[in-house]
């Protein structure tokens, strides 16, 4: 009885160990199963998902125009003070003054990619870009101005 149990244990153990070795052996002999993503080499073909939240950008059209009205809804929506909007008063053709952005400061180093600013924006002026290679040598380079120099607001965006 004792011997039967003793050798039974040995037999079962060896079988379970061989099962594991069979699996690793299978993968060793099937290099096709390799899942490594050769990242810097596949840069050219790498496709990020279109919703991937990489950084906040402000799209400009060909006439260097954006949709931002300077309403600051995004600045309020941001939970950690990533966005700072500096506004100015612009003289309209009809003589009235109107609020417009001067600089849209975006601190990439603070951003948590939570998307709340994009959702909050009433005029869809900012979107998430799919870039992800953000490392730089100097922290100052992470402070970005999203509106391009000389840009102005698109016609018809209120």
């Amino acid at each position: 009885m004792f011997l039967k149990e003793y050798f039974g244990t040995i037999f079962r153990s060896v079988r379970s160990l061989l099962k594991g070795m069979k699996l690793t052996g299978y993968y060793f002999t099937h290099p096709k199963e390799i899942h490594t993503e050769e990242y810097p080499d596949n840069r050219a073909t790498l496709q990020m998902f279109d919703r991937f939240k990489g950084e906040v950008v402000m799209p400009h059209d060909d006439n260097n125009e954006h949709r931002c009205t300077g309403c600051q809804a995004c600045e309020i929506a941001c939970p950690n003070g990533t966005i700072k909007i500096i506004t100015k008063q612009e003289l309209q053709p009809d003589g009235k003054k109107k609020k417009a952005i001067d600089t849209f400061v975006y601190h990439l180093e603070l951003c948590t990619m939570c998307n709340l600013c994009v959702v909050a924006c009433p005029s869809d002026a900012i979107v998430m870009a799919q870039t992800f290679e953000h490392s730089v040598y100097d922290k100052k380079q992470l402070k970005k101005v999203l509106n391009k120099p000389g840009s102005k607001i698109m016609e018809g965006v209120e």
Partner: protein, 364 residues
């Protein structure tokens, strides 16, 4: 080809000896010079061997883990280990302030030297052996049990609690597994009737022991594999290092070149253990022969003996590597249970059966 290689290896050794004997009249001086040459060529052989084993281990691990493994430095990553070695060379070799400095620095040297000493009686090809001592098997098992002194020293002198725990584990482990290793080696010695490596290889000219010796020899082969994996501290028996428990065990405090020496010793030990297994159980440099198939046997003869030897050794190295990358680690008490409750009783009974086999000539 085969004849050429075999002749060349033994001829090289003989030619060298004759040439030295001719040019140097003093016999002692001849021996000393020969020893120096053997030592240097051993070093020249070991360093690339360890590079290769390191590369092999990483590739084997990677393929089993559905990864690519090193593939940046050199073609297919072959120079990765060289790069790692260079990095280790330039690293600062820290010695903890409170450590016992003499022992701390001595320990890696002892570990490496003992593992190198065990290379001496290994037969790489016919007549190509550093030292064909008449107690070869005994010598190897005696030398390899010395390594534990180096490990204990490292753990003790580091002045680190993790190191100490690792060293204590290692002591208990090596002392107990030494027995099973010895017993499984003895079964072949009984069958051969000699402790000399070249005799053991020669006795397998008509078939390897693992085939000739039936099930008892297979059992002692398996026991040897398990126990020697434990003796060289490799996973699943790497309790002395046990990264997840003791960070790095006995070599926690080592860095730079001193750490590299532990690594070097690990790979040399791996090679030696596999070489011994290949020599004792798989016929060393003897080619594979099948009964009376003279054509097949002739083809096999054409493969040089050194290739046979290396092929067998690397097969066993691969198996030991696969152990490491498949199994979880045992706990310290289970490790001892395995030895004292399973391996040791089985190998004792096994030795008795083998002895009866040898007496009654039951083997082929």
């Amino acid at each position: 080809m085969s004849l050429f290689l075999e002749i060349s290896f033994s001829a090289m050794a003989n030619g060298l000896h004759n040439w030295l004997a001719g040019s140097i009249s003093n016999a002692t001086l001849v021996s000393v010079t020969e020893m120096a040459i053997a030592g240097v060529s051993l070093l020249l052989f070991l360093v690339p061997l360890c590079f290769f084993l390191g590369y092999m281990e990483r590739k084997v691990a990677a393929f089993m883990q559905i990864r690519l493994g090193p593939n940046r430095v050199g073609p297919k990553g072959t120079l990765q280990i060289v790069a790692d070695t260079v990095k280790l060379l330039f690293k600062e070799g820290l010695t903890p302030n409170a450590s016992d400095k003499f022992l701390f620095n001595l320990a890696p040297i002892i570990v490496v030297v003992t593992s190198m000493l065990a290379m001496a009686p290994i037969a790489f090809a016919k007549n190509f052996q550093i030292w064909d001592i008449n107690i070869g098997v005994l010598y190897v098992s005696a030398i390899s049990s010395l390594a534990v002194i180096g490990i204990l020293m490292a753990g003790w002198s580091s002045y680190n609690k993790y190191s100490l725990l690792g060293a204590m584990r290692s002591g208990a482990q090596i002392v107990s597994y030494e027995l099973s290793v010895g017993l499984s080696l003895i079964s072949i010695v009984i069958l051969t009737g000699s402790l000399r490596m070249s005799d053991i290889v020669a006795s397998q000219a008509d078939g390897w022991w693992i085939i000739k010796g039936h099930i008892p020899v297979i059992i002692s082969f398996v026991i040897f594999l398990i126990a020697s994996t434990a003796e060289i501290n490799r996973a699943p028996f790497d309790l002395a290092e046990a990264e997840q428990e003791l960070t790095a065990g006995f070599h926690t405090e080592y860095s730079g070149m001193k750490f590299a020496m532990f690594l070097l010793a690990e790979y040399i030990n791996l090679f030696i253990v596999s070489a011994i297994a290949a020599t004792l159980f798989l016929g060393g440099w003897m080619p594979f022969h099948l009964g009376n198939w003279s054509f097949f046997n002739n083809v096999m003869d054409y493969i040089p003996g050194s290739l046979w030897f290396m092929g067998k050794t690397f097969l066993i190295i691969f198996i030991i590597m696969q152990f490491r990358w498949t199994f979880p680690r045992l706990r310290v008490d289970q490790l001892l249970t395995l030895e004292w409750k399973y391996l040791l009783p089985i190998s004792m009974v096994n030795v008795i059966i083998v002895t009866m086999m040898a007496i009654f000539g039951w083997h082929l």
